[in-house]
Structures are given as C-alpha cells and as structure tokens.
C-alpha cells in the first residue's frame, strides 16, 4: 500500500535507538529534575518500541506483553520521583539539579 518504501521493523528499531539516545542525552545535559524524569521516561518508551518491533519480527507475543510490565514500572517510578521532587520543593523555591548540592566531597 505504501508507495515510497516498505516500512520494516528495522525502521522502528532505528527510531527507538534515536529516541533512546535523545533521552540519554537529555538526562546528561538538562538540569531540571522534572525534565530529567521525562528523559528517563523517553528512554523507557524507546525500549518499549523496540520490544514491540522485535515482537513483530519474531511474530512472538512475549515482547508485547513485556511492554505492559515496563509501563507499570515506569508509572511506579514516576510516582516516587515526583514525590521526592515535591518533598524537596517544599523546602526550596526552585528545583534545579545544580542547586541541590549539599552532598559533595
């Protein structure tokens, strides 16, 4: 049906790798904890995409069911992360990773 090119699972794998790299770079260069969380979520969802793509290549349901587990884990992680950020924000006006530097040595 698609005229230009046949979209194979490989395309999705490359897209997933690109998303993972974007997320990874984001965690490393951004300094706002909330944006860092979002980047971690992006990484996890990039992995989900590759699970689904592999699942399609193997015609195997296991990769797709895995995605549900990852989604649940990611949701639990966000709950905890936001809880910690809120706890810190109550004491400080801005949540910036560079300001949160009591611990060093």
């Amino acid at each position: 049906m698609i005229a230009a090119a046949d979209v194979t699972p490989t395309w999705y794998l490359l897209l997933a790798a690109a998303l993972f790299a974007i997320g990874c770079t984001g965690v490393l260069v951004r300094r706002n904890p909330l944006v860092m969380f979002m980047c971690i979520e992006l990484m996890l969802n990039a992995v989900n995409l590759s699970f689904v793509a592999f699942s399609r290549t193997y015609l195997d349901i296991k990769g797709q069911t895995t995605v549900f587990f990852v989604l649940v884990v990611a949701a639990a992680e966000v709950v905890v992360g936001l809880g910690i950020v809120v706890a810190i924000l109550r004491r400080r006006p801005s949540a910036n990773a560079d300001d949160i530097a009591e611990l060093k040595g």
Binding site: L13, F20, C24, S50, F54, S55, L59, I84, I100, E102
Partner: protein, 512 residues
Amino acid sequence: MHLLLSPMQQTDKLISPSVNWGSLTPLLVLLGAGLVLLVGAALSARGWAKGLYATLTAAAAVAAGVLQFVLWNSTVHHGPKSLVGEALVVDGPSLFIGISICAALLLAALVTDDYLRREDIDSPEVYGLYLMAALGGLVMAASNDLIVLFLGLEVLSIALYVLAASHRKRIESQEAGLKYFILGGFSSAFFLYGVALVYGATGTTRLRGPESIKTALALTVETDKHRALLVVGVALLLVGLAFKVAAVPFHSWTPDVYQGAPTPVTGFMASAAKAAAFGALLRSVVLSMPELRDDWRPAIWVLAILTLVIGSTLAVVQTNVKRMLAYSSISHAGFILVGIEAAAHGGESGDRGIASVLFYVLTYAVLVSGTFAVSTLVGRSGDGAHGLDSYRGLGRQRPVLALALAVFLLAQAGVPLTSGFVAKFSVITAAADASSYAIAIIAMLAAVIGAFLYLRIIVSMFLEDGDAEGERVSIPFGTGAAIGISVAFTLVVGFFPGWLLELARDAATRLY
C-alpha cells in the same frame, strides 16, 4: 511462537503454569509481612506499639531465612528446580544470596527501630519498604527470565529510592533520594534496553533451561547472525548492573547517596542491594551466556580493576566516614568482581569463582551492616556527626563499641582471623586458579591501599583525644544486638571458615 497469527485458537484454552507455592514461601512471607504492616498500620488509629513494626520485620526476615534453609535441604535431596513456568529458580546461588539478603534485612530492622525512635520519626512505611526491597532482591537473585529480573530490580530500587529520602527532617536525605532516583532510573533504562536487544537477538528472555538464551547461544553463536545486536545488548546489561553494584566508572552516585541516606538505610543498601545485584549479574550474564564469554569477560576485567584501584585510592582522601565507607564499598565491589571474573572462566575454576563470590557477598553483607550500625550510633541524634572527628576518643568513651567497630574495620581491611580475610583470600585464590594473575596482584595491592583508610578510623578512635562538646554515644538494645550478632559472625567465620566455605562451594555446584 505463532501466537500473533492464531489468536482465536489460544482463547479457548488457557494453560497456566505450575506455580509450586511451597518453594515460593520465602517471597510470600516477606510480601505478606509487608502488606500486613502497611495495611495494619494505616487502619489502626493510633499506630501500633513502638517496636512492634521492627519485631514483625525481623520475624519475617528470620522466617524467610529459615524457609530458605528448608528449601536448601530439599535442593540437596531433590536437586534444584524452577517455579512459575521457569520464571524463577530455586538453586544453590539463589538460596545463598537470598539468605544473605534476609540476614541484612534482620540487622537493618534491629538498627532502624532505635534510629527512628532517636530521630523521632514514626513510620511503619520504612519497614514496609525494607520488606519490599528484600522481596525484590530475592526475586532478582532467583530470576530465570530477564523480565522477571528487571521487575525484581525495580521493586528493590523503587523501595530504596524512597528509603534514601525517608528522613523528612534532613534535606541531605531528600537530595540523596533524588540523586539515587535519577541515576537509578537512568541505569534501569540501560538495563532494559539491554534486555530488549538480547530478546531481539535470541527471541527469548529466559535465561537457562529449555528454549532459553543459553540454549539459543549454543546454537547461533557459530552462525553469528545477530552477533552485533547480542554483544551490544550484553554490554548494556552490564552497564545497568554495574550501576547497581557501584562499579567504577558507574559509581558516581554512591558517595552522595551513602552519605545523605539515613545511616541504617545506607547499611541496607550496601548489604542487600549489592548482594542482589551481584546475584543478578551472576545469573544473567555469567551463568547464562558462557558461549559469549570472550566478549564480556574483558569488560568485567576492566570494571574489576578500575573499581579496585579507584575505590581504594579515593577512599583514602575522604574526611566523612560515611563517604569513606561508600568508597570502601566500591572497592569491595571490585573484589567481588574479581571473583566474578574468575567465575567467568567456567569449568572447575569457574565454580570456585562462583563459590568465592557467594562467600564474599554473605560475609560482606553482615560486616557492612555491623559497620553502619556503629556509624548510626556515632551519628548521634540528627544523624549528622559522621566526620572523622566524631570518632575521636570513642575508644575511651565507649570502649566496647569502639572495639566492635575496630573488628569490622579490620575485617574489611582483610586482617587474618576475620571473615573479611577469608573472603578476600578465597576471591584472590579463585582468580589465581583461573590464571588471572594480573587481577589477583592488583586486588592484593588494592587491599593494602584500602587498609590505610580503615587504620585511619581506628587511630582516630583509640589514639586521639575526644572532643569535649560531643554528646555521649548511647547504645540501645536493638542496635547493640545487631552489632553483637555481626561481630560474632565475623569472628566465628574468621576462626572457623571451613563450614561456610563448604556451603558456598556446595551452593555453586547446585545450579538449575
């Protein structure tokens, strides 16, 4: 394999795997205790009597430990087995590491009770989180599927993020929680990407047994069809696990998190989390991908050497004792990696490597729990007095406590007649047996450099005069009992290591 093609045929009959509830009891005990604690405490209006939470947690830890001994007995008689459709296994290494985690949980529960009273925090959640973290650790050590391993890892890690941030009055604690959370989530994502790539290369996430990664590798490694995918996947798995065990260069979170987290939680992290992560490393890479060992063994080698050298040298320049102990735990991870490297050789010397890793994990879990128990007491109310000067004159003020800490530190340094010596010795002999002489020599040198740090604390305790303004260190019963148990274990294993070495060797050979 063709489930997507024929969904209709699948709906009429659902085959559920055999669960084997009896072998799941250690996990169920921890889960049950955690739920009872959280629900019970939420429902009772005034909360339970003080100490009841810790008692329940300690009882669950002991019960789970005893049940694992019972399972060990049945493993000896009937051989190792798999549970829940091969998702989990009950075998030597999983039980050995499970018992280490339960020991760490028991000691942590004893110390935390007094700590929470001293800091005037009333929270059953802390114990619930301990139990869940231990549950996650047990699942990691017993998993036979990368997805199950990931779930165990996350249950352990998410509980630990909250525990690290659980001291609501100290901003350092929350900072530690945030840092641990971001770097932990980051590393979990790497681990998960590794799982995805390994799945893509082999078509399965099961580790051992029929239709597993191990059997797939035995078939396809010659064809090299997905070789690149597989190698990148294994590398990402190693990155994720190296973060969790705090191996250099993935260690940067350790000093900050260890320093900021409440001290009993730090002890639990250093013992249980490390034990679980090494169990997972053994199970996921070392035992399941022997065909690929030429690709990942050099990586372990480099990690071990960097961890040993950098952990030991950076420990020396610290002035905060919790940070020192953090770097010392990094260098201990290096020693365990030496054992993993030996285990990677496979065959007879590989078995000896696995045994040395198991032995090290158990003895270190007890040792480090004891060390941080003393550190909890010296931290005094507010949990802030962790500078080296807070230990000054402890030998005169509290001679028994100082003596106990001296035993732990000497054991960590690897002085003979302590468990730490036997552990280091068995790891280094395993490396020498596997002809990894370079790594064995570097491990010995790192032990010498590391000894300087431990002696610095001991000198500060016994040879320097105490500061007059310091509040007198009190020793409550629970923490005292935890320290007593740890000292007794350290010395008994130091004097009579034979039985435990035998047990570890036995565990290493009883693989699923």
